[in-house]
C-alpha cells in the first residue's frame, strides 16, 4: 500500500514552498508603524508612486512556520558539515565554527561602511593584516580586497591589465588561455573586451612554453594560467612561460583558485605572475554558502599596482584610512569595501593556522589527493599520469563498455552518502571526474570514499542499471534537467496570476 503524500521519507520531512504555507493576514514578525509618529504614506507619496497591491506574492506565515520550513529544507542538503564534499577545484574544506561566531560580533556586524575611518579602525586593522598575509603568501607586493568572488577578482585583474596597456598607449586585444581553464577565465577576459585564444596542453597535461611562444604576439595583452592547473598538475614551465609572456610585452595572470596546493610550496610572485586572484572561500576556508558569498582579493606586481581599484587602504599617522588618490586606478568594482564578513573569516583562519599551519595545509591536501589517486588508479583511468598536487582527475573511458557514464557514477556516489566530485570539467578530459579531498579529511573518510568508488565501479559491471538509475537513497530521485530548461518555471505565482 502506498503511503499518502506528505509523509516522512526515510526520516526527512517533506515541505511545500513557503508561499504554499501562507494564510491571508498572518505574519511572523511585525513592527508598529506609528512608533514615532510621522505622516501616513498617502500624505506624502502621490498615489502614482505608492505601492497598492498589499505586497501580493510575498508569504504570510508565522515565525514557527518559518522556523520549521527552513529547518526542514536545510536537512535536505548534503554539506561539508555533514559529509565529504570532494568537489574538485572548489576546495570544500572544513569551515571552523568559531569563525562563524566571531564574525557575528556586533563590533563587526553592525559597522556602517561610511563611518569615519577613525571609527572603524578594528576592521581596517584586520583588513590590513589580512592583506599582509595574502601578500606574503602570494609573493606579490600589492593587493585589493574589494572583489566579491574569484571571477570578480579575474575581472578586476583583467581590467587592470587593460588599463596598464592602454596607459602605455598599446591597447592589445587578445588573451591566451589554456583549454583546461575554468570558464570564468575566458568569460572575464571577454568582459574586458578581449578575444580569447585557447592553448592546448601536451600529452602529459602540461602547458609547454613552446605552445605559448607560438601564440604570443604584439596583440596579446596577457596570458591567463591556473597553477596548479585544473587537472591538479603543476605547470613546470611556468617561469619560462612568464619570461616569454613578459618578453612579448604581455602580462601573466595567475588564477589563484588552486592556491591550496601552493602554501609554502611556491609563490605566484616568484613564478612571474603580474596579477593573481585569491578565492578566500576556497583556500582560506570560508563557508561556500550554497554558492557564495565568497571573496576574491587580487594581488599584483609592482607594475600593476597603480591600477588597483579604489578606494585603497593607506596608513598615516592617524592610523588606517581609505584613499581615492590613485589617478590611474581602474576605479571601483563594487560598492564599499568588499565582502568584509568573508574577509573576517579568512583572517581568523589565517591567524589561527599561522605560517606553520599553512604549510601543513598544503602538505596534507597534497597527501590526501595523492592517496585517493593511488588507491583508485587501478579502477579508474587517470586523465594524465603526471604527478599531481591537491586534486586528481580521472576519466570514465574504461567504463564505456558498461554503459555507465561519469554522471551515473556521480549520482551513485550520493547513495553512498558522499557529495559527488566535479564532473565533466576540465572540458579537455572526456568524462572528467575531478576529486579534491582537501586537507581536513581523515584517512577513515577517504578510505570510505575510496571503497564507495571501487564498489560503484564493480557495480557498473555487475549491476549497471543500479548505477544508471541512481540515486536511489536520496530525498528525491534523479531530476529532469531537460524539462526544467525547456519550459522554465522560475518562480512561484499566486494561483490567480497563473
Amino acid at each position: 500500500m502506498s503511503l499518502p503524500a506528505g509523509v516522512l521519507r526515510g526520516g526527512l520531512l517533506p515541505e511545500p514552498l513557503i508561499f504554499e504555507r501562507s494564510t491571508p493576514g498572518r505574519t511572523g514578525a511585525d513592527c508598529d508603524p506609528h512608533e514615532v509618529g510621522g505622516p501616513a504614506p498617502d500624505a506624502v507619496l502621490p498615489a502614482a508612486l505608492r505601492r497598492d497591491d498589499g505586497l501580493v506574492g510575498l508569504p504570510e506565515v508565522s515565525e514557527l512556520d518559518v522556523v520549521r520550513h527552513f529547518t526542514r529544507l536545510s536537512q535536505w542538503n548534503l554539506s561539508a558539515a555533514t559529509t565529504l564534499y570532494p568537489l574538485g577545484s572548489c576546495t570544500m574544506k572544513y569551515n571552523p565554527l568559531v569563525n562563524e561566531a566571531l564574525v557575528r560580533a556586533p563590533g563587526f556586524a553592525d559597522l556602517h561602511p561610511l563611518l569615519p575611518d577613525a571609527w572603524a579602525q578594528g576592521t581596517l586593522e584586520l583588513m590590513d593584516r589580512l592583506a599582509d598575509f595574502l601578500r606574503t603568501v602570494s609573493g606579490l607586493p600589492a593587493i585589493s580586497l574589494q572583489p566579491a568572488a574569484g571571477a570578480h577578482g579575474e575581472l578586476t585583474g583583467m581590467k587592470m591589465v587593460r588599463a596598464y596597456h592602454e596607459d602605455r598607449g598599446d591597447p592589445r586585444n587578445r588573451v591566451l588561455i589554456p583549454a583546461s581553464a575554468h570558464g570564468t577565465n575566458p568569460a572575464s577576459a571577454a568582459l574586458c573586451g578581449y578575444t580569447v585564444t585557447e592553448l592546448p596542453a601536451n600529452q602529459a597535461g602540461i602547458l609547454e612554453v613552446a605552445t605559448v611562444r607560438e601564440h604570443l604576439g604584439p596583440d596579446v595583452a596577457a596570458m591567463m594560467v591556473t597553477n596548479p592547473n585544473t587537472i591538479g598538475l603543476f605547470e613546470r614551465d611556468i617561469q619560462a612561460i612568464a619570461e616569454a609572456v613578459h618578453a612579448a610585452g604581455a602580462l601573466l595572470y595567475c588564477d589563484g583558485a588552486n592556491m591550496n596546493a601552493l602554501l609554502g610550496v611556491a609563490k605566484p610572485g616568484d613564478m612571474g605572475a603580474d596579477v593573481l586572484q585569491f578565492n578566500l572561500h576556497k583556500t582560506f576556508s570560508t563557508p561556500h554558502g550554497g554558492g557564495g558569498p565568497g571573496a576574491g582579493p587580487v594581488a599584483v606586481s609592482a607594475r600593476l599596482e597603480p591600477y588597483l581599484p579604489t578606494p585603497r587602504l593607506v596608513r598615516d599617522a592617524d592610523g588606517l584610512r581609505w584613499s581615492e588618490d590613485f589617478p590611474k586606478s581602474i576605479g571601483r568594482v563594487r560598492s564599499f569595501h568588499g565582502n568584509v564578513g568573508i574577509l573576517v573569516r579568512a583572517y581568523c583562519y589565517l591567524r589561527a593556522l599561522g605560517g606553520d599551519g599553512l604549510v601543513d595545509v598544503t602538505a596534507m591536501a597534497v597527501l590526501n589527493a595523492n592517496y585517493v589517486r593511488a588507491r583508485l588508479a587501478d579502477v579508474l583511468p587517470l586523465a594524465f599520469p603526471t604527478p599531481s598536487l591537491h586534486e586528481c582527475v580521472f576519466s570514465d573511458r574504461e567504463l564505456e563498455a558498461t554503459g555507465v557514464r561519469t554522471l551515473d557514477l556521480a549520482k551513485r556516489l550520493l547513495d553512498y552518502g558522499f557529495f559527488a566530485p566535479t564532473i565533466y570539467f576540465p572540458l579537455v578530459v572526456p568524462g572528467a571526474i575531478m576529486i579534491e579531498p582537501t586537507e581536513t579529511e581523515s584517512k577513515q573518510t577517504l578510505d570510505e570514499f575510496i571503497a564507495a568508488v571501487r564498489a560503484i565501479v564493480a557495480e557498473a559491471d555487475t549491476a549497471p542499471e543500479l548505477v544508471k538509475e541512481a540515486p536511489h537513497s536520496t530525498f528525491i530521485g534523479r531530476l529532469d534537467e531537460t524539462r526544467a530548461a525547456r519550459r522554465p518555471i522560475l518562480r512561484w505565482q499566486p494561483a490567480a496570476a497563473k
Binding site: 535536505w76 613546470r236 586537507e439
Partner: protein, 455 residues
C-alpha cells in the same frame, strides 16, 4: 595540527600506499628554485581558539558601532530578527556549495527558488535570478544586458542622481567594451532626474535611474518608462534601499525592463558594506539574456516536484567567453537569508516596517525644520537631503558628541557642499532624533560641544 587530522602513523601508511618516501617527495616536481623561496616562516605562528577570540574581541572593540548614526547612502541599518541568522546560518546551508547535484541540494535549491519568487513579487517583475554580488555590480550587469538586447546603441544614460558607487562600477565594467559611451543625466530642483531628450534615448540601450535615487528621492519610473520605451530604450531601475520597494509602486508596475536592487536591507547586517546581495529582476521575454544563476522547477524520476539549476547555457561554465556574465560563485547564502527575512515579515510585516521607515524619516525631517531645510522637493522614503549652513563643521561637531549626522554630500556632489544626506529607519526612535537635532543645532566649537554632553 589545527584542522588537519592525520596522526604520524596514518601519514606513514598513506605514504606507503602512495609510494612516496615523504610528503616532501610529493612536491618534488615543483621547481626547486620556487620551493626555496616559498617559505612562510615570516608569518606569525598559529594561535589557539582562545587566543583568537581574545584578539578578535579587541579588534571589534576598536570599531565604534555603539555610536548613533544616521547613515544610509547605500547601506541601511535595520532590525534583523534572531531567527533570520540562525536559520540561514544552519551548517547545511552555510557549508554546501553551488547545487551541482540537485538530489542532495534541494534545501539550497528550493530556498533559492523561493528567493527568486519573492524578489519577483517585491519588484513586481516576472523573473529574478539567484542573486549577484551587490547592487552596484547588478546595475553594471543590467547595463551590459541592455547592450546585448540593444546591440547597436552606443550610449548608456546614467542619472547623476544614481548612487556614485553604482555609476563608478558601471564605468569600470564598461571600460574596454568598445565604443560604448555613458552619458550623465542631470537632476532637477525636486531632486528627480530630468528625463533625457528623445534624441539621446534613441541612441541609448538604457536609461538607469535610482529608485529611490541617492538623494532618497522617488523618481517617476512610469513617466521615464514611457519616454524610454517610445524610443525603444530600456529602463533600468536601481534601488539601494530595497525596503522602499514595499512602499513604492513596483518597478514592474511602472514598466521598468530591468529592476536591480541592493538586498542588504532585507535581513543582512551592515558588515562594513559586505556581503550584501544584488537583486536582479526582469521580464520573462529577456530570460535568456539574464546574467547569473537561475533555479527552475522540474520533477524527479518518480514525478515528485523538485528544483534544479537551469538555463545554464547562458553561463560561463558552458558558454565560456560568450557567456552572459562571468559570475560563478554568487551570494547564495545571502539570498537564503533574505528569503528567510522576507518570509518572517511577510506581506504585512514588511509593509509595516516600510511604513515605519517612511513615517520616521518624515518625522525627523519635521524635527529638523528650522535647523536646516529640505534640499529637494520630491517625495522620499527613509532618506533625505538637508541643506544646512556649515554642514561639514556641524557634522564634525556632532561627531565629537558621538552622533554621525549622516553623510556630508559634498564628498560626492561638489554642488551639495552644504548638504547632509540623512537616513532614519525603524532603529531610530524619538530620543535618537532629539539627539541628532541637538547635535546639529549646536554651532559651537567642538571642544565645547563635548562638555555639553550630547554623547
Amino acid at each position: 595540527m589545527r584542522y588537519t587530522p592525520h596522526t604520524a602513523a596514518e601519514i606513514d601508511v598513506m605514504l606507503r600506499a602512495v609510494g612516496a618516501a615523504s610528503v616532501d617527495a610529493l612536491l618534488a616536481h615543483v621547481p626547486e628554485g620556487l620551493r626555496q623561496r616559498a617559505s612562510l616562516a615570516s608569518l606569525p605562528r598559529g594561535i589557539d581558539e582562545r587566543a583568537l577570540r581574545t584578539e578578535l574581541a579587541s579588534l571589534a572593540a576598536r570599531n565604534r558601532t555603539e555610536a548613533l548614526t544616521f547613515l544610509g547612502a547605500g547601506a541601511y541599518p535595520h532590525f534583523i530578527p534572531a531567527a533570520v541568522e540562525q536559520l540561514a546560518g544552519r551548517a547545511e546551508f552555510a557549508t554546501a556549495y553551488t547545487p551541482y547535484q540537485p538530489e542532495v541540494s534541494q534545501g539550497t535549491l528550493q530556498a533559492t527558488f523561493e528567493f527568486q519568487s519573492a524578489v519577483a513579487a517585491l519588484t513586481g517583475m516576472e523573473v529574478a535570478n539567484a542573486g549577484m554580488y551587490d547592487g552596484a555590480t547588478a546595475a553594471a550587469e543590467a547595463v551590459l544586458m541592455t547592450q546585448r538586447l540593444r546591440p547597436n546603441r552606443p550610449l548608456v544614460l546614467l542619472a547623476r542622481a544614481l548612487h556614485p558607487h553604482y555609476r563608478e562600477v558601471i564605468a569600470t565594467y564598461l571600460t574596454g567594451i568598445a565604443d560604448i559611451e555613458s552619458v550623465e543625466v542631470p537632476y532637477g530642483a525636486d531632486g528627480r532626474t530630468v528625463l533625457p531628450a528623445a534624441e539621446l534615448l534613441r541612441r541609448a540601450s538604457c536609461l538607469v535611474l535610482g529608485y529611490p535615487n541617492v538623494f532618497g528621492v522617488v523618481e517617476d519610473l512610469t513617466r521615464a518608462a514611457a519616454a524610454a520605451h517610445a524610443e525603444d530604450c530600456l529602463l533600468v531601475s536601481a534601488t539601494g534601499e530595497a525596503l522602499a520597494l514595499a512602499a513604492l509602486r513596483t518597478p514592474g508596475a511602472a514598466g521598468v525592463d530591468i529592476a536591480i536592487a541592493e538586498g542588504q536591507s532585507l535581513g543582512l547586517p551592515l558588515a562594513y558594506g559586505g556581503p550584501g546581495l544584488g537583486l536582479f529582476a526582469s521580464r520573462e521575454r529577456f530570460v535568456r539574456s539574464l546574467p547569473g544563476r537561475l533555479v527552475g522547477e522540474t520533477v524527479d524520476a518518480r514525478g515528485e516536484r523538485g528544483y534544479v539549476l537551469t538555463l545554464a547555457t547562458r553561463e560561463q561554465h558552458i558558454r565560456r567567453e560568450r557567456a552572459t556574465s562571468n559570475i560563478c560563485t554568487n551570494q547564495g547564502l545571502c539570498a537564503v537569508q533574505v528569503v528567510v527575512y522576507l518570509s518572517l515579515l511577510g506581506r504585512r510585516g514588511l509593509a509595516n516596517v516600510a511604513e515605519r521607515n517612511l513615517r520616521g524619516a518624515h518625522a525627523l525631517a519635521e524635527r529638523l525644520r528650522g535647523i536646516g531645510t529640505l534640499r529637494f522637493s520630491g517625495p522620499y522614503f527613509n532618506e533625505f537631503v538637508l541643506s544646512i549652513d556649515g554642514a561639514r563643521r556641524r557634522w564634525q561637531r556632532a561627531l565629537a558628541a558621538g552622533v554621525v549626522a549622516g553623510l556630508p554630500l559634498g564628498d560626492w556632489y561638489p554642488e551639495l557642499e552644504d548638504a547632509l544626506l540623512l537616513c532614519a529607519t525603524e532603529l531610530h526612535d524619538a530620543a535618537a532624533m532629539e539627539r541628532l537635532a541637538a547635535a546639529l543645532a549646536n554651532d559651537l566649537p567642538p571642544a565645547a560641544s563635548r562638555t555639553e554632553g550630547h554623547s
